[in-house]
């Protein structure tokens, strides 16, 4: 497996930089292993494993940059790749928004690596699938699932002395269980770095109980309902909102954060005062890389224009007591506007309370429990109106109890409106790479019914 140590990575990056003749040069070195197993109809359909090791060099002359990559790391290959990047750079058009590379940075020490995950092998994956398929077969249910594990490292360096190294692991597991008659469907999608925290059997049992409980769903009239959104349901809406906070778009007048007559809504109270959203690479439950990959260059925004230019990831408060406190900006835009160049959010943490999902249900007179929202698409970027559907377990709640399953709904709702109609927040859990509380929302807008199970 191609996991290099910090010392090995530094030696190779320094060697590559020693060949550089451009005004500025950055190198990124990434490697690792991805493995997966996929099953459907209670049988494994595909499984695979791939190793990867790649070095990318970005050379810059003035405001022209070029990138070349290689997966052989001998000295001759390194030199050839540096020369190639320089040739490409000389032919590239000038990027008027190019920002000089960053100098040495101080990065936090985060803990994104778990040895247990790094040790996953094909037998482990087969057992994970077996633990999920087995219980379903016994109960005459049908499992379809997917597990993907990644173990890797990223190291960055540049000719101005910047250097960073980080190892990380991750496991993504999702399971859909359907009843034999196709009338019930359930889902679970736990999210961990450390595979010892994952039980595919336990996750499958959650999906199994939702599948069985969702059979013979009744139709309710579409309209405005109090909903309890499980974190797997709300996560994508919240993520979409957080990824739409870019300062430049807001300044340019084409964002939900643009203000009538010009300027942005920074400092305005846009949400219920219980809404607090941060990112924090040091969070013990959701550790993140201390830097973006890439190593510098680009339009102040990384090699390919992404947010990966080696800026340190720090704790950022995005929304405090419902007030917009910070917006991400490229280095180019930050300099132009005289604001701090905060990288875009990764690993969103929405603060919550101490109540469990069960507690939220118990305190609900009338409402709908939503397991998952699906096929979410933007309808209006101005208001962040999204549409999509409930899926894999939608239930009617009355007097603190789940009464019966209901047919799936299509919704048309904006997370901004949703976070103003907040009733209660539970204890945050990991979902889709974020830390999100279950939430109770009033007047959530369902616009039509779906026959889909």
């Amino acid at each position: 497996m191609a996991i290099l140590t910090q010392a090995e990575a530094k030696r190779i990056i320094d060697k590559a930089l020693s060949y550089a003749k451009a005004d500025e040069t950055s190198v990124s070195l990434t490697g690792g292993r991805t493995g997966n197993i996929r099953y459907a109809r209670n049988s494994v359909s595909t499984s695979g494993e791939a190793d990867n090791l790649a070095l990318a060099v970005t050379a810059v002359f003035g405001k022209r940059s070029g990138t070349a990559t290689i997966n052989e790391l001998d000295d001759a290959s390194l030199e050839k790749t540096v020369r190639r990047a320089e040739e490409i750079a000389k032919l590239a058009p000038e990027n008027p928004e190019y920002m000089p590379m960053l100098g040495p940075q101080t990065y936090l020490q985060t803990n994104t690596y778990a040895e247990s995950t790094a040790k996953i092998d094909p037998e482990f994956r087969a057992k994970a699938a077996f633990d999920s398929i087995g219980p379903c077969k016994t109960k005459n249910l049908t499992a379809a699932g997917y597990m993907e594990d990644t173990t890797g490292f990223t190291s960055i360096g540049n000719s101005k002395g910047l250097f960073g190294y980080n190892r990380s692991t991750g496991v993504d597991f999702s399971i859909t269980v359907r009843t034999a008659d196709g009338l019930g469907s359930g889902y679970a999608n736990p999210d961990v770095n450390d595979v010892t925290k994952l039980s595919t059997k336990a996750a499958t049992e959650v999906a199994m109980s939702k599948a069985v409980a969702s059979v013979n769903a009744r139709a309710l009239e579409p309209g405005k309902y109090t909903v309890i959104l499980e974190p797997t349901a709300s996560v994508e809406l919240l993520q979409n909102m957080m990824f739409s906070m870019d300062a430049r778009n807001a300044d340019e007048g084409r964002s939900f954060l643009s203000k009538k007559g010009g300027g942005t809504r920074l400092g305005e109270k846009l949400f219920d005062e219980r809404v607090n959203i941060i990112t924090d690479p040091m969070n013990a439950e959701l550790p993140l890389s201390p830097f973006g990959g890439g190593g510098g260059g680009g339009g102040g925004a990384g090699r390919f224009g992404g947010g990966s230019d080696g800026r340190p990831q720090e704790k950022v408060t995005w929304v405090e007591k419902g007030v917009v406190k910070n917006m991400p900006a490229t280095r180019f835009w930050a300099e132009k506007k005289g604001i701090k160049a905060i990288p875009p959010p990764t690993g969103i943490i929405m603060m919550g309370g101490t109540e469990s999902l069960a507690d939220l249900i118990k305190s609900t007179t009338k409402g709908i429990l939503v397991t998952r929202l699906w096929y979410i698409r933007a309808v209006d970027p101005q208001t962040l109106l999204y549409t999509g559907l409930t899926r894999d377990g939608t239930f009617y709640i009355e007097n603190g109890q789940i009464k019966y399953p209901v047919k799936n709904f299509r919704f048309n709702e904006s997370p901004v409106i949703m976070l103003n109609n907040l009733e209660a927040l539970g204890k945050p859990v990991r979902a889709g790479g974020h830390l999100i509380p279950p939430m109770k929302i009033r007047d959530f807008t369902f616009t039509s019914l779906s026959d889909a199970v």
Binding site: N36, R38, A40, R41, S45, S47, A50, G66, T69, I70, I88, A92, P93, N95, E97, A129, T142, A144, Y146, E148, S174, T176, R178, G182, F243, D246, R248, N249, E252, R254, S255, F256, K259, G261, A301, G305, P328, P344, W374, Y375, I376, R377, A378, V379, D380, Q382, T383, L384, L385, T387, L389, R391, R410, N412, V416, I417, T447, S448, S450, D451
Partner: protein, 546 residues
């Protein structure tokens, strides 16, 4: 899914994402390298034979070898700036085998020697044998005759990679300039070009060398009203196509004039962006739609996406069978509905067909990724469901003794599986123009261009938006509308189809990045139609205040 992420390139919040999905293992190269020839066909045959022989000696009963060279170029601009130019190449080999009745697959990057190929083949056999222990039923592969050494080339006139980058940059910057001059505050435009050089060898005796080209010019203009603080956008009305650079040569015969100009096999980007800028500005003054039932007149630049989501996907056999249950979902179009021979998918006017041979389409190839010669077949005939889209190991499930040629992998490193063919609505058999269609509509909306799209996991309930909406009152276009989206149910919607314009109006739309599978793979697919009318569809108003 991939396509959505790519669409974000053009929409709001583009600051962080400027990399569209590229084939695995893509590496940056110079533009000149995109014109270098790949391996000679004799070398490819020798390599493929080495893999097939090695697999056979280890006990494989079937082997296919895909030697792929995937070339991509994209040019990204906004206003007066080039934001990004990327040229990439991905080369490697994927070997798929059946051993002990089970599939196995292994891939190798930069494979150059017979030994590399033999090693991959042996690994694929080992994986097949390991997986066979967990298998429920052995693979049942539909028989397929070998075609010998054959080749297929997309019938392009001008390889887009031969056009100097400067010419492409100049085009996009002139397009952007035209947008800004005509009322746009901001404009993004992109040119995306793909060349797949694919060689497939199978133990059935096919050695197919194929050269596939795709191009997609795309753009979005934004017009801001400082007074109200509102912004409106309009995306270009181009289609991604299986053509060369000739798609960007404007040709009067390919223009469909009317309330706005639409394009067939040649796209006038400058003319369209000029209209887009004016229309984005005009949207600010457009009337907000009153929710209710309307007769919809849907242009092919819009209808392609509704066909894709509500016909293309639900009639993929792997979805019907449950193989996609954990991700993309299953399908309402279950086998019993097909077996009944009387399931009314749509009205009598509705004829939907799959076709992997349509010239200029994104899905056109000579042979699919398991050596089946491509063809055209009916899916819905006179409104009745008659068939699905299947591959060799599924054909027996629907009583076919040969595959329909729907097998595709997005890279040499991905395992091939069932993907959507070009699925299209056949034009009406009696002469009917768009003008004549609109003349009969009392209360309707004419929708042009694709917009927001969402459909449930079994493909019943959907919601679609567009780029341009025009109110139809008593047979006349009464003005522009905004805040429009329609919601319907697939069967109800296609049964509300009362008329389809004739073949003179037939055009292709399509998706460059349709996503499916875990890990996800993207594929490109076209959908053709003439303008069609659907009666009494539910329209909602999407305006909100935050």
């Amino acid at each position: 899914m991939n396509r959505r992420h790519f669409n974000q390139l053009l929409g709001m919040g583009t600051a962080g994402i400027l990399m569209p999905p590229l084939p695995a293992f893509s590496r940056p190269v110079s533009p000149e390298m995109l014109l270098e020839p790949g391996l000679d066909v004799a070398v490819k045959k020798r390599l493929a034979d080495a893999a097939m022989n090695a697999a056979k000696s280890k006990g494989a009963t079937y082997t296919d070898v895909r030697i792929g060279r995937y070339l991509n170029q994209f040019v990204v601009t906004r206003e007066d700036k080039v934001q990004n130019i990327v040229n990439t190449e991905s080369y490697g080999v994927g070997v798929r085998v059946i051993a002990d009745g089970c599939w196995g697959f292994a891939a190798v990057v930069d494979a150059k020697s017979e030994a590399d190929l033999a090693k991959a083949a042996e690994k694929a056999v080992a994986i097949a044998k390991a997986n066979a222990k967990l298998m429920k039923q052995p693979v049942q592969l539909a028989p397929q005759k070998g075609y010998g050494e054959v080749s297929w080339k997309a019938p392009i006139q001008k390889n887009a990679f031969e056009v100097p980058i400067k010419e492409k940059v100049d085009l996009l910057l002139s397009v952007n300039n035209a947008a800004l001059k005509n009322g746009a505050n901001y404009v993004n435009s992109i040119l995306f070009m793909v060349n797949e050089q694919k060689y497939l060898a199978t133990t059935d005796g096919t050695y197919a060398d194929q050269d596939i080209h795709r191009i997609w010019p795309l753009s979005t203009v934004t017009a801001i009203d400082a007074k109200t603080g509102k912004f409106e956008t309009r995306q270009g009305l181009s289609a991604p196509v299986g053509m060369g650079y000739e798609y960007l040569q404007s040709n009067p015969a390919d223009k469909i004039t009317g309330i706005t100009t639409r394009y067939n096999k040649g796209y006038d980007m400058l003319e369209d962006i000029t209209a887009a800028a004016k229309q984005a500005r005009a949207k600010h003054a457009a009337k907000s739609v009153e929710a209710g039932k309307y007769d919809l007149v849907l242009d092919p630049s819009h209808l392609w996406l509704t066909i894709h989501e509500s016909v293309g996907h639900p009639l993929e056999l792997d979805r019907v069978l449950g193989y996609e249950a954990n991700f993309a979902g299953t399908s309402f179009a279950t086998l019993d509905k097909w077996q009944s021979k009387s399931f009314n998918y749509g009205s009598k006017q509705v004829n939907l067909f799959a076709d992997k041979t349509q010239v200029g389409s994104l899905g056109a190839v000579g042979y699919d990724d398991e050596g089946v010669q491509t063809k055209r077949w009916d899916l819905v005939k006179d409104g009745t469901l008659v068939n699905y889209q299947a591959i060799r190991d599924q054909a027996h499930i629907i009583g076919e003794n040969e595959s329909q040629g729907c097998c595709y992998a997005d890279s040499w490193s991905s395992v091939q599986f069932q993907r959507m063919a070009n699925v299209s609505l056949a034009p009406g058999k009696t002469p009917l123009s768009v003008q004549d269609m609109i003349k009969d509509v009392k209360k309707g909306i004419y929708i042009i261009g694709d917009g927001s799209f969402s459909i449930d996991q079994q493909r019943y309930n959907f919601q679609f938006g567009g780029q341009l909406y025009y109110e139809i009152k008593d047979g006349q276009i009464a003005g522009m509308l905004k805040d429009v989206a329609y919601q319907s149910n697939t069967q109800e919607f296609w049964n509300s189809c009362v008329a389809v314009c004739d073949e003179k109006d037939y055009r292709l739309g399509g998706s460059f990045f349709d996503g499916k599978g875990q890990p996800p793979q993207s594929s490109a697919v076209s959908h053709g139609s003439s303008t069609a009318r659907f009666n009494g569809v539910n329209v909602i108003n999407t305006a909100r205040k935050i």
